[in-house]
């Protein structure tokens, strides 16, 4: 009697568990809806569509992760760190066996905009599908045409991730997506003009600027994906660099830049305020310089509409002449190592050598960018096929941690700069992480 009652109770309890498990299994492996589900397979594409797709690939900076220097374009291989182990960007050439040659337009759409590979396998959100979801149907179609017909197939097997079982199971990402990844394409704001909307589309969608410039939460989610959230593009630390605010913060953001200067920076890599460096060099070399002028103007218009935060940014910077004290720690190092290019007055030689007076890296509380560029120098900026004449040299072998901390503390505390002193330990730590010969080199997180 008792046994039968127990069995009946257990049965009643098991049923909802089974139903819940079934629903969960369906949810985490389901293929999201796509407007292209019924699209017929296409054998050839119009050249105009392919070249439009190539432009969308530039806007989206696909090569940042999916191409390695000296290797076949889009064959994958870039290593990226996650808290659980390294993952590698995949082969997205139209090779039938190792690439995406067998993808239908619907498969391609699900991967790019929703992070779901054929069969329901979830991609890691290192692929910026929470941004790419904003891409228009037309741009996805063009992008597909480019990858199917504009890219050479390359037979190169994908590298499996280092993440151990059971952490390498992909289905929990579907739950992450449910919480953090939007599902809708960009919808134009009727109260804004076409230029602003085009800028918002590029910045939030293909440009995925927030991948670097928006701070991330505990689950590695971007804290905001559009202008409705104050953390959107408010500046973030990653890969040993501080990606500054792109909002109207006069010190750590674009508050002192006008629209023409934003366009010039993205088109030529330099303006009166700054020269691209760190991860932005790659974004410039591979992506922003190829954007059309009207698209750059749209980006500038949109970014200039994002308000700053005086609480976070502090009192707006103003130039102050340096007090004449050549014996201050760091002042002598500055005079002998830095002043030839950046000037004893800190004003640089714009637009070629950037000023350090008023530079974001000297005003931001985070000192990572200042330390990193001093240790490792800048990468080659290639504008319109021409490499730059002037580049920041690496001082890793010439200056000690103490000397770097002193000279950067001097730079960050002179000419009105108030980023604050640099800790010698922070220099040592970044020196270790960025040493290619070390056992714990810094590995790229996000692009």
């Amino acid at each position: 009697m008792n046994n039968r009652r127990f069995a009946r109770t257990a049965g009643w309890l098991a049923l909802p568990c089974l139903v819940a498990a079934g629903l969960l299994a369906w949810y985490v492996t389901r293929e999201p809806a796509t407007p292209f589900a019924q699209a017929p397979a296409t054998a050839t594409f119009e050249p105009a569509l392919v070249s439009r797709g190539e432009y969308v690939a530039r806007l989206s900076d696909c090569v940042a992760c999916h191409s390695l220097p000296g290797k076949a374009p889009f064959a994958g291989g870039l290593e990226m760190a996650t808290p659980l182990g390294a993952i590698h960007a995949t082969n997205i050439t139209p090779d039938k066996t190792t690439g995406i040659g067998s993808y239908s337009l619907a498969d391609f759409d699900r991967a790019v905009r929703h992070g779901v590979a054929p069969g329901g396998r979830r991609l890691y959100p290192a692929m910026p599908y929470p941004s790419y979801v904003k891409l228009s149907d037309d741009d996805v179609k063009a992008l597909y045409a480019f990858f199917m017909q504009g890219v050479q197939p390359a037979n190169q097997a994908n590298i499996p991730s280092d993440i151990p079982w059971p952490l390498n199971m992909r289905w929990p990402i579907a739950l992450w997506n449910g919480v953090f990844a939007p599902t809708a394409t960009y919808a134009a704001k009727p109260n804004q003009d076409a230029l602003w909307n085009r800028g918002a589309y590029i910045v939030q969608g293909p440009g995925h600027c927030g991948s670097c410039h928006t701070p991330r939460g505990l689950a590695f989610n971007e804290k905001a994906l559009d202008e409705s959230g104050a953390p959107f593009l408010a500046g973030a630390l990653l890969d040993g660099w501080y990606a500054p605010s792109l909002r109207q913060d006069p010190n750590t953001g674009l508050g002192r830049w006008d629209e023409a200067q934003i366009v010039q920076f993205l088109k030529t890599g330099r303006n009166a305020h700054a020269v691209v460096y760190g991860s932005m060099t790659e974004a410039f070399n591979n992506s922003t310089q190829f954007m059309q002028d009207d698209d750059l103007a749209a980006i500038a218009r949109y970014l200039k509409s994002l308000p700053g935060d005086p609480q976070r940014d502090g009192t707006p910077w103003q130039y102050q002449a340096a007090a004449t004290n050549p014996d201050a720690p760091g002042a002598h190092t500055y005079a002998t190592r830095c002043a030839s290019c950046h000037g004893l007055d800190g004003k640089g030689q714009p637009d070629w050598m950037p000023p350090l007076a008023g530079a974001t890296s000297a005003l931001a509380k985070e000192s990572a960018s200042a330390i990193n560029i001093t240790l490792n120098g800048s990468q080659r900026v290639v504008a319109a096929g021409v490499p730059d004449a002037y580049r920041m040299p690496a001082f890793r072998e010439q200056l000690t941690d103490q000397q770097i901390a002193e000279v950067l503390s001097y730079v960050r505390g002179t000419w009105g700069n108030n980023g604050g002193a640099v800790d010698v330990k922070a220099v040592g730590k970044l020196r270790g992480h960025t040493d290619p010969a070390s056992s714990s080199p810094i590995i790229l997180h996000m692009r």
């Binding site: 050549p326 002598h332 005079a335 002998t336 190592r337 030839s340 290019c341 030689q349 070629w352 050598m353 004449a389 002037y390 580049r391 040299p393 010439q398």
Partner: protein, 151 residues
């Protein structure tokens, strides 16, 4: 654009970001100024701009239009520069000589700003690299020039 070099005007056809060093050496043939590292680290390319020592390899030419440039070729037309060269010869400072035009420019700039520099000031200002290691001779020569002034 027009450049004023060694009291003469030169018409130069160059991109705005061309390093001044390239214009001086390649376009104008003033080869006394040397190319060393190209990164403002060694000082072999030092010239004077309005009396201040600058490293011409990292000086975009557009930035020096309208300013007075002095190279090693004309340094003896300068009162201080003449004494520096004389002392350099007297003390036989140079070995291979490659860095020495830059060293002479740096010493001239120092003495034009500070007539009788202390040893510490000499150490702080004379930071150009010398592959032969003539640092002791350089410092002795500048020290002798400082003492002439001090006397």
């Amino acid at each position: 654009m027009e450049l004023r070099i060694n009291q003469k005007a030169y018409q130069v056809d160059a991109d705005a970001d061309t390093p001044l060093l390239w214009v001086i050496r390649d376009d104008l043939g003033l080869t006394g100024t040397k190319y060393g590292c190209g990164l403002a680290q060694c000082g072999a390319c030092s010239v004077l701009v309005d009396g201040n020592v600058v490293r011409s390899c990292v000086t975009p030419v557009a930035g020096v239009v309208g300013r007075e440039i002095t190279t090693i070729e004309a340094i003896e037309e300068d009162e201080v520069g003449k004494r520096v060269v004389a002392t350099w010869v007297e003390q036989q400072v140079a070995q291979c000589g490659y860095c020495q035009s830059g060293q002479v420019m740096a010493a001239t700039a120092l003495l034009k700003h500070t007539r009788a520099p202390s040893k510490a000031q000499i150490d702080a200002a004379m930071v150009n690299l010398c592959r032969c290691g003539t640092y002791n001779a350089i410092h002795a020569a500048v020290d002798a020039l400082a003492k002439q002034e001090g006397a």
